[in-house]
Amino acid sequence: MGASGRGSSIGAISLSFLIIFAAAGVMLRGEDWPEWRGKGRLGVWNETGILEKFPESGLTATWRTPVNAGYAGPAVAGGRVFVTDSRRVKANQAIERALALDERTGQVLWTREWPTNYSGLQLVYAIGPRATPTVDGDRVYVLGAMGNLLALDVSTGRVLWQKDYVKDFNTSIPSWGITGAPLVDGDRLICLVGGEPDAKVMALDKRTGEEIWRSLSSDTEPGYNQPIIFDVGGVRQLIIFHPTGFSSLDPATGKVFWEIEHRSQMGIVVATPVRSGPYLFFTSQYGGARMLRLDDGKLGASLLWSGPGEQDRGMTHDTPNTLNSVISTPVISDGYVYGIDNDGQLRCLDAATGKLMWKTDALLKEHAMYGTAFFVRNGERFFINNDRGELVMATLSPKGFNEIGRTKLVEPTHPYVRRRQLPNVLWSHPAYANRHIVIRNDEEIVRFSLASGS
């Protein structure tokens, strides 16, 4: 009895521990943000225990740490925040830098610098790195605006290996710099290089930097997109959106599975492709919108519908269209596409037909060329960072845009050539990790809690 009772007691204690541990696990289960748009590049943030509305007094910063300029959003992994920045030293010469910060305190743990030269970049936008760092276990891969790729030890910042796209791969840097954040796939680091010959996309050995494969001609510029892998019917496809069109590659070999030609002027293809079920959506300012249908049964895709772009005859940025996003990556949710058009309007399209369901200026609160916002899904809600430095919580449905709350996080500081209500913009994608948002501008990186009760 006693034993039994003890046993019961021990069992009860164990159970209690398990329950507490499990509950704590639920409560404390954190989620990192190791790369562009979070794990898998999907713009999905799965954490629970997130606040339902913003405090009237705004969010409280956990910490603020000064940084230099750059568009690169932060990545968060293993208790560290990684970000890159740049400072001008003389004329077009600059020092680019990777930083690791303590996620909890914002203390700088290490920095790693490299010199670069922004000659030839459009100088208004030549403020710093563009690509979000990519974290893979004990390595972080950082990429400068001029194609300096470094593999760094996450603990120390030690350089494990490095490549210079220009010198090593004969890349012609496009006007707005190198932007494609490296993508880890198994042992491979897949990079949008724009090298020659035939090295628009390359897979490097993630441990050594040695070339594994190269693919796609560089007769056209590489564009400004992000490589992404989707599993379609059990086949993993590396999707590259580039100025010549859409290419599906075998991530293991670089072999082309299928391609659809779709030429976009000026090389401006920025918005990351998004997929939902059979839908695979691409959008750009000049090329317009293309919705492809993926076929699980065979390796290929077909055009489902298209919307005109600015390059099409008779089109201007004021002509009615479907969704021509310049920078902003749209989302597909429950059969509808939501995104920011190049005039700054938030739009909803029927994913099956491209029909415009509604459009509104309510998100940016101004009708503005190149208006931009970043969408992250959390459950039924979306957290949307607009280029005014605001965080907007909303639900999106075919009925409309329902704003739950809005709060200002940081000042927009990126210079911009067109007239807006505010003199500057904020085009850096934030990270959502461990119930916090980490966001940067050209002066500071800041962490705010988004946990319930914050």
Partner: protein, 525 residues
Amino acid sequence: MLAGPAKAGHYLPQGVGARTIVVLSDLHMGAGRDRSGKWYPYEDFRWSPEFAAFLAAVDRQGGSAVDLILNGDTFELLQSTESNCAGAAAGLGCDEVEALARLERVLRAHEADVKALGQFARAGSNRVVFVPGDHDAALLVPGIGRRVERALAAPAGRVEVTASGDWSSADDQVYAEHGHQIGPSAHRFENWPSPFVRRGGREQLARPWGEAVIQELFNRYEPRYPVIDNVVASGIGVKYALAADSADVGDLAAPLVRYLLFTMSWQQFRMELDDGDVQPPTWDVAQVRAQGPPFLVSSLPDDDRLKPLAAKALADGRLAQSMEELGDDEIVAVCDYRAAMRRARRRFEPVVTQFQPRGPVVAECPRTPESRGAVFDYFWRSRDVVFARHLETIARRRSGRARPSVFVHGHTHLPDRSQTGANMISGGLLKIPMEGFSPVHGALTPIVINDGAWQRTITPVQLDRLASDRGVPEKELLASLQPEDLAPCYSFVQIESTGGVPVPAVRYWRQSAAGDWAIAAACGR
């Protein structure tokens, strides 16, 4: 016998008050029609009714207080259906007697046009000024210039042929010259405005090397392909003729490659790519020179109609001398052109050049190590250097006078267009739309502006589109097209004064789809 220019500085009392200045060039009035009434194939000016209507409209709009500047190549005195001038064999042009004979023929053939000009000159306080160009440099012979002045039968002081080879407004704010003397032009005369040489006791017109190369080819091919010299920029049409006939031009190949490469490069490469204050790279000229003659061929994209001819000239060993003769500035100009063409084609720029924005790319020239990096954005460097130097030369020549704020030229037949994105100041934060351009990067003055040609013209892009629309091979299209088939649209520069500041703009005398003629801001083609 030629006596060289006289009366230098013989200026009319030009451009004061609220006068309008209208500058047009490259009319190329030639031999007219043959005895059967058909146009000679060399005749490019077949537009008497619309020219008269244009003059009437300009007169009306300017309140009969217009300075009409005919900015060179008004008369076609180089190309002739008659036999060559005696000095041609020695690489020279006509003497005074020969040139006057050609002029008389042209004046007879264009009696209606001369009459319209005379009528314009007699109205109100209008004035007509003839600035000599490379095709009518003979106007610098005093006797020939006076013959033109007399032909218009206007009161004294209303018509002038400038002996200085250029024209300035009275306040020196506006300066015009034909344009063949700008930079390393293949049409440049050594001693302008005294383009004469004395051989065997005779004064004869000199003949620039580019002229010698290109005129012979136009003479050969224009009867078969009448619009080849309507293709802009001027000179490019030869490529189309050579490609159509798969011609072997023998020893002409080498100078032709050099000529056309420069035609396409610094002066006539029209783009709107200057959208940012960027620092251009430094081309490694020594490395380029080390490439030798293949550099010339590799500067042409594979779809360039000149490429097969250039490749053959290379294989035949004919390009070595051309390469050796290239100056550093010329190499830089070609390298700039390669970079511009490469960028335009690698990212499907919209129609930023007169050439197809899609097609094979060329490699960049090698850069010096310190300037490796991003692609090259500022493509106008070579052009700016050329014009800045030329403006300096003008300033030195006119020592003591105000520097012009507007410089109008023609010669290339390719007008400048409004470049809304081309002039960025304040570090690129503010774009100022302007017509023409300033060779001082990011500045608004001085303005350089190309008046194009008072001609019907067609760009290579338009030619390709036409062949595609009609579904005919290019050779067939070229053989079938007459100048009358081209768009009825003629460019000129109009300069109004705003608060004492001259404001130039390229304008077009254009026929609408409904058949009406009017001055417009674009051709609408």
